[in-house]
Amino acid sequence: MERPNRNHWGIHLGLIVFTLLAIYPVLWVLALAFSGQQSVGLIDLPKDPSFLERARGVLPWPAHPSLKNFVDVMSEQPFGRWLVNSVIVSLLTTLLGVFLACTAAYAFSRFRFPGRGAGMLAFLVSQMFPGTLMLIPLFIIIVKWLGLGNTYAGLVIVYATTAIPFCVWMLKGYFDTIPIDIEESAVIDGASRQTIFIRIILPLAKPAIAITALFSFMTAWNEFILASVFLEAESMYTAPVGLRFFVGGFSSQWGFFAAGSVIVSLPVVVLFLYLQKYLISGLTAGSVK
């Protein structure tokens, strides 16, 4: 600190080594995806490999780079179908989740009514319910009672409702920052509640709604446990369940898995890197309460 322009070579060295270690698994998946083969090893090692041969096997660069895995996973495997399922479920979840969260958050932000405090507290408390405790009753309700196993609807309504509390709290915070004068002048001009909500509040809250929508989308896109419990028919799998299908249990189609993972992760990783600061502030804000 006494010499602001000094060389940080020690720190750089440490950071570079650690960064390489940290991104190695990512590089490994990429190498596997472009390797054009299904085995979990990047190259076929000879019987008694030397140090260098082993080092080549560890280096995340495919022996024969090819797009075969990507082509095959989309054409030979039903992965395209699973991706479409995931997209449909995630989009419907986003639509439903944003609708439910916006209306509720607006009421919590703008109205003072009996039960407001209790309602908001209930939303918060529900975040503490452990997943597996919900899993069994949800399985019984959705699959056994409502018969919504193997359907989009079953997953969508569950995803949308589980995302509600977080979205409501986040949107309410944003609605609170919109000055109430705007609404009051609109009321004087004779606008109804609905008009105010749709024409004034929603357009003003666009950034927050966008974040909420993305959060709902990512919740549904990345969810694995509920989907694997609700979906039995292979044709209805979502992408996460499908990816596990490639390498879980006794099958080991690592090439398909790697290619599929790259396809599934790419949009989320880009979105995440773009949005991380909002998510982080939302998460830590939630934990302080």
Binding site: V40, T132, I136, K144, V264
Partner: protein
């Protein structure tokens, strides 16, 4: 004075609403119970008969089988038809038009499929040593119960015996009961109209009278209905016992495997397991026969108590003015409630109800096999919790030396606690060191490092878990390659308790350090630079600056982040489930993956629900202490 005001203090409306509610709920509960009794009797009778027919066919050739089937049909006219299918052949039938034996026709394909399905189910059960596939198919349609059971030759499932039993549903016996209920309701309204409630006082004779009158009216009605249900239950058991006796007599007459053992082997559930309610000779078994009806009505009794309490609550709600206030609030804030309603209803149906249902489930013995039986019959109280928490035999001293029982709750709890502590420590230490490094003044390339180091967090964690599973592959995995590169022996990662634990730790550490790093980096950057400058002027060393300035100022950010990451790690299902799968032998299971496996691999729904309830309780206790602890550190 508007209508909301008028709602206030009217005993009549309160009595009416309360009585209507109690009668409706009670009627629903008892009606359901009565329907259950009737439906189960029909099914039991059909299953019993079919099992008996199948037993009577033992050791009979085609011709003898035909004779025996005809004897059954003649002895019990309620049997509409019996057919025996083996493979693609219709071996026997009571229908003369079927002209058995002959090959199945094209339109009889469903029968052929059924043979395949039941045979597969039987083979699965035999192979796994667990009875988890139904081997008896029951369909109850249009007054005919169709039952298909496996047809065994020398103990092997070769085909099916399918029996159709005419069992007309008893006409809804609503008439008298409904009239009586209406009379009770009218009486409640009438008494309510006569009672005066004083609005200026909180307590008066009118209120007491209203409560007593309501209890007397609905209570009397319920007792009368409960008696009817008890009688129906007893009659049902007696009827089944009679069917068993008749069937045993008939089998003795026409030939076949005579019933042996104390308990009827024919009176079974859908998995072919004896219910144990009737003896082979056809007498209701004293052991359960006497206790069972009691057990079955006890739940209804309890339910009725709860409903009565609810009814009294409703009455009080009306006479104390709660209804009037609610109506006024609803009208005044109609807009607000309209906006909240969609989300609230969704939460109630798919979050709060499942939560409560899960807790209720943990007091039953629900499994895959008995989930169709009435809820009350499955009620076992605290038994599940006693089984989970009361089993203290963690270490077993047996003939093969000392063995740890990995299925024990406390072992899993210990693993979970170690898992949480080690993971959070790893995450915080790596995050902290990296954040300090990235916070160095004038460091070049910081944004690049930051983005690259955040990557592990950005990737969906189920993918991360599967990727590490691949890298830990004992034979071809990269990690063992590196070990061998430097002359070490490859490690069979998933075979040892400690090494399998390490796989989870490494994976979770990898995906959780970026969160800590980002949070700590943010906090570090908000510490004013001049504090360090002042410290340097005072002659403080780097270490002293870290201890006295950095750490105390990090605390407000670090504590919530750690609290959050403890809960995340405690519930980190995906990593354990997908990387090691709790191997070896469930030793590395954490509580939440254990609960999942109990539910969806062993099909012990109720036991898993109890397990989850215990997890929830642990989290609640943790949350309570954590809040107190956070408050304490804040004041520090």
């Amino acid at each position: 004075m508007d209508w909301a005001q008028r709602l206030r203090h009217t005993a009549m409306l309160g009595m009416g609403a309360a009585a209507a509610l109690v009668l409706a709920l009670g009627g629903w509960l008892q009606g359901g119970a009565d329907a259950d009794v009737a439906a189960r009797q029909r099914e039991r009778e059909a299953v019993l008969l079919t099992n008996a027919v199948a037993a009577s066919l033992a050791g009979a050739d085609t011709e003898a089988a035909g004779v025996r089937l005809a004897a059954w049909r003649a002895a019990r006219p309620a049997i509409e038809s019996v057919i025996v299918v083996v493979g693609r052949e219709l071996v026997g039938s009571t229908n003369a038009a079927d002209a058995a034996p002959r090959a199945l026709r094209r339109d009889e394909k469903p029968l052929f499929d059924l043979v395949g399905a039941l045979r597969a189910a039987g083979e699965t059960n035999a192979a796994e040593g667990v009875t988890r596939k139904r081997t008896i198919e029951v369909a109850d349609k249009a007054g005919v119960v169709t039952v298909s059971v496996p047809y065994r030759v020398d103990g092997r499932v070769e085909g099916i015996v399918q029996l159709r039993l005419k069992a007309p549903r008893a006409a809804a016996r609503g008439g008298a009961a409904d009239t009586l209920a209406l009379a009770v309701l009218a009486a409640a309204l009438g008494i309510g109209a006569l009672l005066k409630v004083d609005p200026t006082r909180r307590f008066d004779a009118g209120r007491v009278l209203a409560l007593v009158a309501l209890l007397a009216l609905v209570g009397g009605h319920q007792l009368q209905r409960l008696g009817a249900t008890r009688q129906a239950l007893a009659a049902s058991d007696a009827a089944i016992a009679q069917v068993q006796a008749d069937a045993a007599a008939l089998v003795a007459k026409v030939g076949g495997a005579a019933p042996g053992g104390a308990v009827s082997a024919w009176d079974t559930d859908g998995f072919g397991r004896p219910l144990g309610l009737v003896s082979a000779a056809g007498e209701p078994l004293a052991a359960r026969g006497a206790a069972a009806p009691d057990l079955r009505t006890r739940f209804i009794e309890r339910g009725l108590w709860a409903i009565d309490a609810l009814g009294l609550g409703v009455l009080l709600f009306f006479v104390q003015g709660g209804a009037a206030r609610t109506a006024a609030a609803l009208r005044e804030h109609a807009d607000a409630y309209g906006y909240v309603a969609p989300a609230m209803i969704g939460m109630l149906v798919l979050v709060f109800f499942p939560f409560l249902y899960g807790i209720a489930l943990s007091f039953t013995d629900t499994t895959l096999f008995n989930e169709a039986t009435p809820f009350g019959e499955r009620w076992i109280g605290f038994d599940n919790f006693v089984r989970i928490l009361g089993d203290l035999d963690i270490v077993k001293h047996g003939a093969e030396g000392t063995v740890v029982n990995y299925q024990n709750f406390y072992w899993t709890l210990m693993v979970t606690v170690i898992w949480t502590i080690t993971n959070v420590s790893v995450g915080v230490s790596f995050g902290f060191v990296l954040a300090l490094a990235l916070n160095t003044d004038g460091l070049r390339g910081r944004p690049i490092y930051r983005v690259l180091l955040i990557l592990p967090w950005a990737i969906p964690n189920y993918i991360t878990a599967l990727v590490w599973r691949g890298m830990f592959h004992p034979q071809f995995g990269v990690i063992n390659q590196v070990l061998q590169m430097f002359g070490f022996k490859p490690v069979a990662w998933f075979d040892g308790v400690v090494s399998a634990f390490m796989t989870g730790l490494v994976t979770n550490g990898w995906l959780s350090f970026p969160f800590m790093m980002v949070v700590i980096l943010g906090a570090l950057q908000s510490i004013p630079r001049d504090m360090y400058e002042a410290a340097e002027v005072e002659g403080a060393t780097r270490w002293q600056q870290l201890r006295r300035i950095t750490l105390p100022l990090l605390r407000p950010t670090l504590v919530p982040a750690v609290v959050l990451s403890v809960v995340w790690t405690f519930n980190m299902f995906n990593i354990i489930f997908l990387v090691s799968g709790g191997e070896p032998a469930g030793a590395n299971e954490i509580l939440i993956t254990k609960a999942y496996k109990i539910a969806f691999e062993q099909y012990q729904y109720a036991y898993a629900a109890a397990y989850s309830t215990v997890i929830f309780a642990i989290l609640l206790v943790y949350g309570y202490f954590q809040t107190r602890l956070t408050r304490a550190t804040e004041s520090y």
